[in-house]
């Protein structure tokens, strides 16, 4: 009985460990942990988040201090020449803080540059400009140009893929299962691809952001969250609405396409314009099958036309947002978060479409790993692999 009482004594019991923690922290802060080395050089961890070339005679670097101590940038070296610079707000960056370093330098269009920051301890941190080109500034014109690129890469291919809907509807039952399995194949490729991209960005993040755990956990949380949402929407029905499944596929694919938009926008912003054009062509081809994936669950239904419009926008539109972010305000942290959420969303729709296939095989008493199902899966992966060679 007494054990179940939750009075003031109970609150105190909860505070005991925290009090102990406070004492320990106070002790460590005041006396050191016995591992302090006054003579050891400080650990410095600067990372250059972005190099912009906003004008013909200027490099602008966004530098972040991911270490536990303040870091002072004492000199800047451009292509093996010590160069003038100024840092805002200051040469010394506090932990977790950032600074903007402006280097007045007459760069040559189309050439590569290496910019090195030398800190007060002589440690160096590098940044690269693979191809020097003016970084597109934020203007109405560039805004629309990026939107157009995003439309080419995202909205149009997804919409074109959806146009296969009437064609696919006339397939027989096994044909439709083939298309569903194909969708699983496409999505399986996309989830691996998205996760890989997320990891690539995550390892670039300063250590304090714990990039890799962040990506893995966000992916899992998104998966679990969407599963819970789907269960809620079903509300006791055995199957959720197939249109709902299509919407969730569109959302997952949309977030994946946002990642592609980021890559394209950043490529343009970093001056890799040729790569950008190549990426546009590749992604357009790559994404046309995504429309098929979105349409697959609703082949037996007759949704209103407006739903197709929304599905195309949800699946392709985020590519536009991605190009904007990548082009104007690329942030590794933001990119890692978006990509991780995208991977989780795709995992969830793989689960959902897989359930559809299993339910169908149970209903028709055919094996789940039938020839059309296996074939569809393989073709789905193969198509993605082949078109990914283009990007």
């Amino acid at each position: 009985m007494a054990r179940n009482e939750r009075g003031a004594g109970w609150v105190l019991l909860g505070l005991v460990p925290l009090l102990g923690l406070g004492v320990l922290l106070a002790f460590v802060v005041l006396n050191g942990a016995g591992v302090g080395r006054e003579d050891a050089p400080p650990v410095e961890d600067l990372s250059v988040q972005r190099v912009a070339l906003p004008r013909e005679h200027e490099f602008v670097l966004e530098v972040r201090n991911g270490g536990p101590e303040p870091v002072t940038m004492s000199q800047v070296v451009v292509n093996d020449a010590i160069w003038d610079f100024r840092a805002e707000p200051d040469n010394t960056i506090p932990p977790l803080g950032s600074a903007t370093v402006t280097v007045p330098y007459s760069w040559v269009e189309g050439e590569a540059y290496e910019i090195v920051l030398i800190t007060s301890t002589g440690t160096t941190f590098d940044a690269e400009v693979p191809v020097a080109l003016l970084t597109p500034g934020f203007s109405g014109e560039s805004f629309w140009r990026y939107a157009l690129i995003g439309t080419y890469v995202g909205v149009i291919p997804v919409a074109l893929g959806l146009l296969w809907y009437p064609f696919l509807r006339r397939l027989g039952s096994s044909g439709m299962n083939f298309v569903l399995a194909l969708t699983v194949g496409l999505l399986a490729f996309l989830v691996v691809d998205t996760l890989e991209e997320a990891m690539e960005v995550a390892v670039e993040l300063p250590g304090i952001f714990s990039g890799v755990p962040l990506v893995i956990l966000l992916t899992l949380l998104t998966l679990l969250g969407l599963l819970a949402v789907e269960r809620l929407l079903r509300r006791g029905r055995e199957e959720s609405s197939r249109l709902g499944t299509s919407y969730r596929i569109a959302l997952g694919i949309g977030l994946h396409n946002l990642g592609e938009g980021l890559a394209i926008g950043a490529a343009f912003a970093l001056g890799e314009a040729a790569l950008g054009v190549f990426l546009v062509v590749g992604f357009t081809l790559h994404n046309i099958t995504e429309g098929v994936g979105i349409a697959a669950p609703i082949l037996r239904e007759r949704p209103r036309l407006v739903h197709f419009l929304w599905l195309a926008l949800l699946g392709g539109g985020p590519a536009i947002v991605g190009t904007w972010i990548g082009g104007f305000a690329f942030s590794n942290l933001l990119a890692a978060v978006f990509l991780a959420v995208g991977a989780g969303a795709i995992l969830q729709v793989i689960y959902e479409v897989g359930r559809l296939l299993l339910a169908d095989s149970a209903r028709t008493k055919t094996p789940a790993l039938s020839a059309p199902n296996l074939g569809g899966l393989l073709v789905g992966v193969a198509i993605m692999y082949a078109t990914a060679l283009l990007v």
Binding site: E56, H57, T72, S74, Q75, V76, V77, D80, A81, I82, W83, D84, F85, R86, N91, V103, P104, Y105, S106, V116, I118, T119, S120, T121, G122, T123, T124
Partner: protein
């Protein structure tokens, strides 16, 4: 600087000007712009001025900030010769020097420190000077945590070579030998790992005058060196006498028509070749300074590791003249300076 300060001349014109003046012109322009900014003097023609304004607006090849020269001033080091304590023993001139190895934090570029090992707390170590035939006694104390030695280039017995007789922390060793042959030499630590002990700063110039002396001149010491500040086995910063761009910011003042003699020592590690180039002038070059006849009359001399020599020249015109490594990379990473030639 704001955009308004360079209004009137387009960037295109600037590019053309920079193109015709070339790399060195650009560098000098950068300096001139800087100098005007600091002291308001005008050292150049109208063209140079326009160039300077542009370089000032568009940035230049130099360090940002100033080095604290209170502990080691390269400008003072230039003409600072350590003759030792002179005495006569048994009718013979003896010079006694004291060198102490210690660890010291040095500033190799504004705000960039380097944990050096140094003789007498400075890199390069003091320039030892003697006359051919003097008896030299060098009392060496090691106050560092690592064993060190002094290895002199010159004639001496095997046990005075500073190779096998390691001097441990807290120990002392006395090197004693005759000053010969005359020339421009160097001394450095010869403890293994050798490169580490040299790159950390344990080296200096060692000048032995010929018995009959050399003609009266304004004598300068320039030890070409570099620093691997991030320990990746290549130099981040290059210089003469340690501080990057020091003589660009504080030009070496010399007199027009006066004979200038530069003792040049290459103490650079990691890079095989260093060089010395004088602008608008040629110099007589005496390899290792061991002959009184110059071997060459040139304006650019290449130095291998440990190579050194004597340069002699006079400037015909007043003004500021650049000198730098003709290895452009080294020049742009700090091994660049100016002579400020003034009317005698």
């Amino acid at each position: 600087m704001s955009e308004g300060e360079n209004a009137g001349i387009s960037r295109r014109e600037f590019l053309r000007a920079a193109g015709t003046l070339g790399v060195s012109g650009g560098l000098l322009g950068a300096y001139a712009g800087r100098a005007r900014g600091h002291d308001g003097e005008d050292h150049g023609s109208g063209v140079a001025r326009a160039e300077a304004e542009h370089m000032a607006a568009h940035g230049g090849n130099s360090t940002v900030g100033e080095v604290d020269t209170s502990r080691f001033d390269p400008s003072a080091f230039l003409r600072d010769f350590y003759w030792g304590e002179e005495r006569v023993e048994g009718g013979r001139k003896v010079r006694e020097y004291e060198l102490t190895a210690e660890e010291v934090e040095i500033e190799v570029a504004p705000g960039v420190t380097y944990p050096a090992w140094a003789y007498n707390g400075q890199v390069p170590g003091p320039t030892l000077r003697a006359r051919e035939g003097d008896r030299l006694r060098v009392v060496f104390r090691n106050r560092d945590a690592h064993p060190h030695t002094i290895h002199f280039h010159g004639f001496h017995p095997a046990n005075m070579d500073g190779v096998f007789e390691l001097v441990g922390p807290g120990q002392e060793f006395v090197y004693e030998f005759d000053a010969e042959p005359f020339g421009c030499h160097l001394y450095h630590c010869h403890t293994s790992p050798l490169r580490k002990h040299i790159e950390k700063g344990l080296y200096g110039a060692f000048v032995i005058d010929p018995g009959e002396g050399r003609p009266e001149a304004d004598e300068l010491v320039m030890v070409m060196n570099g620093f691997d500040t991030n320990f990746d086995a290549s130099n981040e910063v290059y210089a003469v006498n340690t501080v990057a761009f020091h003589y660009q910011k504080h030009p070496v003042r010399i007199k027009k028509d006066e004979l200038v003699r530069v003792y040049v020592v290459n103490a650079l590690e990691f890079d095989f070749v260093n060089s010395f180039h004088t602008h608008a002038n040629f110099f007589d070059y005496y390899p290792t300074g061991t002959r009184l006849e110059p071997s060459e009359f040139t304006d650019t001399k290449v130095f291998g590791q440990g190579e050194r020599g004597i340069m002699e020249f006079r400037y015909r015109f007043p003004g500021r003249f650049m000198f730098h490594a003709h290895v452009s990379e080294f020049a742009e990473l700090g091994w660049m300076g100016l002579f400020d030639v003034v009317e005698g």
